[in-house]
Symmetry: C2
Subunit: 178 residues, 2 copies
């Protein structure tokens, strides 16, 4: 049940329409909780019904017309209690690790190319994160808590990509020429 809270967070940062949310998900919150525009519209409807958000009054409400949403006090309460809520981490699901395990049974033919492809993807994502870090979090400390928290989140993304890059590099070396 994380998507509604992802949306509440995004709307708190800045009231937005569905499409704007979709775009911001693509380059920010979506880095660790992605969503398509269909999901977002569906969820906005539910959140409005629940009284957690409301559509800002539009001059002429109509289909195909932009609708801006903002968070209501009830939504703020919901998000605040959710932050303190406890939830187990979902078990890992990696089809790449699974593939490697299968390769141990049926041979690793063709696996190398896939590892190289993933390495490039993770390296690219890492580079993207590092650019954001340099832009949004230049040296200078200490910082106010909100900034520290946002930086920690980004750090998580960075270190996770670094893990993949290192593991894939190691795996390719270990696999040897095929």
């Amino acid at each position: 049940m994380s998507l509604p809270h992802a949306i509440l967070t995004a709307l708190l940062e800045k009231p937005s329409s569905g499409l704007e949310l979709t775009r911001r998900f693509d380059k920010s919150i979506g880095y660790f909780w992605s969503a398509t525009h269909q999901q977002i519209y569906r969820e906005l409807g539910k959140l409005e019904q629940a009284g957690h958000i409301r559509a800002l009054p539009a001059p002429v409400p109509a289909r195909g017309q932009k609708k801006e949403y903002e968070v209501l006090p009830a939504g703020l309460v919901e998000l605040t209690t959710w932050v303190a809520r406890s939830e187990d981490p979902k078990p890992l699901r990696s089809s790449l690790l699974l593939r490697m395990r299968a390769a141990a049974m049926v041979g690793s033919t063709g696996l190398r190319a896939e590892l190289e492809r993933h390495l490039a993807l993770h390296q690219a994502q890492l580079d993207e994160y590092l650019v954001i870090e340099a832009r949004d979090f230049p040296a200078a400390r200490p910082r106010p808590e909100p900034d520290r928290l946002r930086h920690l989140v980004l750090r998580g993304g960075i270190d996770l990509e670094r893990f993949w890059v290192e593991w894939l590099t190691h795996a390719l070396a270990e696999l040897g020429g095929e």
Copy 2:
């Protein structure tokens, strides 16, 4: 579309019944592709229908009776081609990172306890992996390829847990007393 291939791999390692598979998932393949017994029975049905596996003939087939499955040649082909197949990594989904991002907007009250809980969980998982590594992969190299691949998979799990342990430790330090 990974579950069927996880099952094929497990059945190649050793022909099993549905419940046996469920148990083996809980302590091996399930570390990176978990499944409940309902999923497994459903998938076994599909795989049998597709001609990828077959139930070994039982003396008295009946409901509530154990059914052993084995992989058929078609299943082996399917798994082999799947290993070489290319598939993008699913985008990361971490409700913990999301929670921290929300905390940057509404305050981090109650977050510390959750971080500590996750730290303990990941530390426990890491310890479990390390025991398995010591048991199944004692020093001595070089090794045949299948063993190298299985060890790489386990290494992935280990390094991933290490990442979480380190990041959570860092986050707790950075968060400071609350």
